[in-house]
């Protein structure tokens, strides 16, 4: 097995389970299956900076190949696919009810839904992507659904 294989869901044929499986996706799309790599030692092109010399690489492809490439480039790389749940949501107002972060300064790392740490990026137009610790994913998803309900009330 490769180094730290037990962190990764990409080293087996077993089917991973989304941490959002038990929440009805009324106001979000579950993108937890996207590959996520935490990179140390710099910010590779296209990655989201998450701290000094730290970045998150999000990819919809061969995670192991990307990991190996980044390691070859001299970064320390950790597969955090299983650690972070991903939610795609739509609407600036919904985001404004989730976080006090400046939506004109994305991507960024900050708190959503009362203190849950998150990586937030803006896709196109009013679409946003949130990555949150998987253990808080169900809570965050329930908050997202609830906020959407409040906006539609």
């Amino acid at each position: 097995m490769t180094r730290l294989a037990f962190l990764s869901p990409h080293e087996t044929d077993a089917v991973p389970v989304s941490p959002l499986r038990d929440v009805e996706p009324r106001a979000f799309t579950d993108v937890s299956a996207l590959g996520k790599l935490e990179v140390r030692g710099g910010v590779p092109a296209g990655a989201i900076p998450v701290g000094p010399e730290r970045a998150l690489v999000v990819l919809d492809g061969d995670v192991r190949a990307t990991r190996d490439r980044l390691r070859d480039e001299g970064y320390r790389v950790y597969d955090v696919t299983a650690a972070l749940a991903g939610l795609e949501v739509e609407g600036e107002r919904l985001m404004r009810r989730l976080t006090e972060l400046d939506l004109d300064a994305l991507p960024t790392v900050g708190a959503i839904a009362r203190g849950t740490p998150a990586v937030i990026e803006r896709l196109d137009g009013e679409r946003f992507r949130l990555f949150v610790p998987q253990e808080l994913a169900r809570y965050v998803a329930e908050v997202v659904n609830d906020v959407a309900e409040g906006l539609n009330a």
């Binding site: 097995m1 180094r3 730290l4 294989a5 037990f6 962190l7 990764s8 869901p9 080293e11 087996t12 044929d13 077993a14 089917v15 991973p16 389970v17 989304s18 941490p19 499986r21 038990d22 937890s32 935490e38 140390r40 320390r76 950790y78 597969d79 955090v80 696919t81 299983a82 650690a83 972070l84 107002r93 404004r96 009810r97 976080t99 006090e100 972060l101 400046d102 939506l103 004109d104 839904a113 009362r114 203190g115 849950t116 610790p133 998987q134 253990e135 808080l136 169900r138 809570y139 329930e142 908050v143 609830d146 906020v147 409040g150 009330a153």
Partner: protein, 843 residues
């Protein structure tokens, strides 16, 4: 009674709405407020005053004063003068015993004077002391404003965050001009106004909404009814205007005494005639408007030399103006127009009294904060007398708290002659209006009574909120962050009773804790320990870093081996524990307690940054699931699920191996918190379910936290935070073997020579199960406390851990523990209760 349609009126006469006041049906129109509809229907008494229960009617009609506070649909203290009318609303008078018209507590007004002077609650009803419970009951019942229904339905409140370039507070002429100008520069501008919504020119309008405060960093919370907007602005423009100040004269609270703004709104917005015969003092401009509305104006003067109002049943009947006695049912009386400076003061502006105009004005604004319009205080006006008192009816400075000129005089006479002290003693300015209508008057009266210039007395501190706000709005939604293990669904499906441990939801048990304990001892159990903190430490200096963080050694830990470690603070106090596995020369895997993971990860990062080591700290707690497979059959079960050699010889106690279990890559640690042969299996969180399912299929019975606590106690394994506290050190906790004092340095080494053993942590057995926290008693003195206790079938009786004085920490010595009010004998045990040699763990 409604007037002919007025230009710009807000009511829709084609759309009547019906509601009730104290059960009686009332009709108004769409566009009315509850207050305007009630007034149009003839209601004059809207509330009873706070202390004297005097009848009170509309005064400001702007949502500032307390006079129209009523209970609407169960929500107390709604200012009905600004609350939009809705069909079916149930409106009730509040602070009333009886009815608004006849409130028997108004006896306090007539006869209560001698018994209820200012500050009476500090000095009356004190003797006889034994009567206090009765006094308290009566006072408690009478005090307060409104009643909250404990069973009432919760309204929905949301919170919304905004960042804008410019925030304009106030939508009058000056505010709108400032907003339009700022918008022209291309800035994102938001204007907040208490009044009706309107379309902004190039800027956004949030109305009706009320700015509650200005906090540091330009944060302005805005109450928009059911949504609290938390707005951060780079520039704040305050255009809050001025506040008409009531005049202070005898009878100034009678029903029928109004401020000019109230009269204007009643006529202009809701086409309601405010009275039949009026006297105007102050703002004479309002006289013409009254005449147009068909009100006879008996007198209108800009300034009175003497003023007194008389009434009957709390309602205005006559006014004595400069010696003339005039019959009337409406007195429009106003003094200064006080700039609404509170938000500016909160932002840090200076507030000074301006003697030429008789009002407080703001200056020295902090960066990023501006003021325009009336709030700036540039309006020219003549000061009015501080009060027209001297005999007659009560002369109110503060209608919210029923504070009179006499009360202030008395406070001064008693020595409370500074405004901040007088405020606290009399509660003037501390009521629902928060000083909007009484702060100026109270300072002026105090100045007069102490013969001190107002400028020296100064303003009281302006604190948020600027306007009353529902607590529900501040609280927002009832959503509690909960951390769930990736196996949460499996626990629910298995019927687990879930419990909170910190932020985590964890299975207490699956319904049969004793049976679950037996399963682990006799066969095979599996527990979800995904909540354990997990940290990867990688880098050339990983070993050096851990060597300095822990009191024990990790540089000599062989690859593939595990060692127990305890973290101590700089002061040598225990703050976390866990296991450390070495996976490669430069790679360690650290586990921490469940509640300590974030603190430990930060601790590692902090020291790593200070020491400048080449080591990455990767906090992987949530991303990695962990289960503990434990019991005599653990090896056989594991062997069936893996190709790896897990024989006793190949996978020894305290070995760490990366193996596949049911095809899933796992880090397997052969350790045992629960005392039986066991393996802790760590895998990617999203693969936890297939791993768990495979283990359960292999015969493992899920066990919860409660059985785990029994099992670990049988082994006398310590839970940091439960059995230790912020004073515990390694010596007193019985773990001196962990400390490698010959190491050059580690966190807490400095404190070692100073470590004291005031208590020792020991095990005990007892016949009666004591509660955790119970006292340990020896020779009639408190000699310690119980930290953990459980009944153990295996040991046969109650077992536990306790801190006791070192002198009693001897194998077999007898101590006493207080349980259920009685003392019970217990025997001290220094070794684990179960398998003291650890034979099973190593088997």
């Amino acid at each position: 009674m409604r007037l002919e349609p007025q230009a710009g009126e807000r009511i829709d006469r084609s759309s009547p709405l019906t509601f009730t006041l104290d059960g009686r049906e009332v009709t108004g129109f769409a566009g009315d407020t509850i207050g305007s509809a009630l007034y149009a229907a003839g209601t004059r008494i809207f509330s009873r005053s706070f202390k004297y229960h005097r009848p009170r009617g509309l005064l400001c009609c702007s949502g500032h004063c307390p006079n129209c506070m009523m209970t609407v649909d169960g929500v107390p203290n709604v200012r009905v003068c600004t609350e939009p009318l809705r069909e079916g609303a149930r409106v009730r008078g509040q602070n009333v015993r009886g009815s608004l018209e006849r409130d028997w507590l108004s006896v306090v007004d007539r006869f209560g004077g001698p018994f209820t002077p200012v500050g009476f609650y500090y000095r009356t009803m004190i003797r006889p002391r034994r009567a206090w419970p009765l006094y308290e009951k009566v006072l408690r019942n009478i005090a307060g404003l409104g009643r909250i229904s404990p069973t009432g339905a919760h309204r929905r409140y949301d919170t919304e965050h905004r960042t804008v370039d410019v925030l304009v507070i106030g939508g009058g002429g000056a505010g709108r001009r400032a907003a339009a100008e700022a918008a022209k520069t291309g800035a994102e501008v938001l204007l907040v106004d208490e009044g009706h919504a309107f379309r902004g020119r190039g800027y956004e309008v949030l109305a009706p909404a009320r700015a509650l405060a200005v906090y540091e960093g330009g944060l302005v919370p805005v109450d928009a009814g059911s949504v609290l907007h938390r707005i951060r602005a780079r520039r704040i423009v305050v255009a809050a205007g001025t506040l008409d100040q009531p005049l202070v004269f005898p009878g100034n609270d009678l029903v029928g005494v109004m401020l000019p703004g109230a009269v204007r709104r009643l006529v202009d917005e809701w086409a309601v005639r405010p009275g039949t015969r009026a006297v105007v003092v102050g703002d004479t401009g309002v006289a013409e408007q009254l005449r147009r509305a068909g009100v006879e104006v008996a007198a209108a003067v800009a300034r009175a030399n003497g003023l007194r109002a008389h009434g009957r049943g709390g309602r205005l009947r006559t006014v004595e103006l400069d010696g003339r006695r005039i019959a009337c049912d409406l007195l429009v009386a106003s003094g200064a127009r006080q700039p609404a400076y509170s938000l500016l003061a909160q932002a840090g502006a200076r507030i000074d009294y301006e003697p030429r105009s008789g009002v407080f004005v703001p200056s020295a604004l902090p960066p990023g904060v501006e003021v325009v319009g009336g709030a700036a205080g540039s309006e020219r006006q003549q000061p009015v007398p501080a009060a027209y008192d001297g005999g007659g009816d009560k002369c109110f400075v503060c209608v919210c708290e029923d504070v009179t000129v006499k009360d202030l005089k008395r406070a001064v006479a008693e020595g409370f002659d500074s405004i901040e002290l007088a405020k606290r003693y009399t509660t003037v300015t501390m009521g629902p209006c928060q000083g909007k209508l009484c702060h100026l008057a109270s300072v002026r009266v105090l100045a007069r009574e102490t013969a001190t210039p107002e400028a020296l007395i100064g303003a009281t501190t302006a604190r948020p909120p600027w306007a009353p706000v529902e607590l529900g709005l501040l609280a927002g939604r009832h959503l509690e962050p909960a951390k769930r293990s990736p196996l949460h669904r499996r626990h629910e499906d298995a019927g687990a009773e879930m419990m909170w441990t910190g932020q985590w939801r964890r299975p207490h048990s699956y319904g049969d804790p004793a049976g679950e304990v037996r399963a682990v001892h006799e066969h095979l159990g599996v527990i979800d320990v995904s909540t354990l903190g997990k940290i990867v430490v990688e880098g050339a200096d990983a070993a050096a870093l851990l060597e300095r963080l822990y009191p024990n050694r990790f540089a000599d830990l062989r690859i593939g081996r595990v060692r127990y470690g305890v973290l101590t603070t700089d002061g040598g106090r225990i703050f976390d524990d866990g296991t450390i596995a070495r996976l490669a020369e430069d790679l360690y895997y650290v586990t921490t307690t469940s509640t300590g993971s974030e603190g430990v990860a930060e601790w590692f990062e902090w020291w790593n940054a200070i020491w400048g080591y080449d080591a990455e700290i990767v906090h992987v707690t949530g991303g990695v699931a962990a289960v503990n497979l434990a019991g005599p059959q653990a090896r056989t079960a594991l062997a069936r699920l893996t190709d790896a050699d897990v024989s006793k010889e190949a996978f020894r106690y305290l070995d760490a191996k990366e193996i596949r279990v049911a095809g899933i890559p796992c880090l397997a640690l052969r350790i045992g918190f629960v005392g039986e042969l066991g393996y802790e299996l760590h895998c990617a969180a999203s693969l936890a379910e297939p791993l768990w399912d495979a283990l359960v299929r292999a015969g493992a019975r899920p066990f919860g936290l409660e059985p785990q606590r029994v099992l670990r106690l049988e082994k006398a394994h310590v839970i940091v935070g439960q059995d230790t506290d912020s004073e515990s050190n390694l010596l007193s906790a019985g773990m001196p073997w962990i400390v490698k004092a010959d190491k050059e340095d580690f966190v807490g080494k400095w404190a070692l020579p100073h470590a004291q053993v005031r208590e020792r942590l020991v095990g005990f057995t007892a016949e009666v199960l004591p509660p955790e926290g119970a006292q340990v008693v020896r020779d009639g003195r408190i000699a310690g406390r119980v930290t953990s206790a459980r009944s153990s079938e295996r040991v046969g009786g109650a077992i536990g851990l306790a801190w006791i004085e070192p002198g009693y920490a001897e194998e077999g010595s007898t101590i006493q523990i207080r349980a259920n009010g009685e003392l019970h004998d217990a025997q001290v045990t220094l070794a684990p209760f179960y398998d003291p040699e650890g034979v099973l763990l190593r088997s």
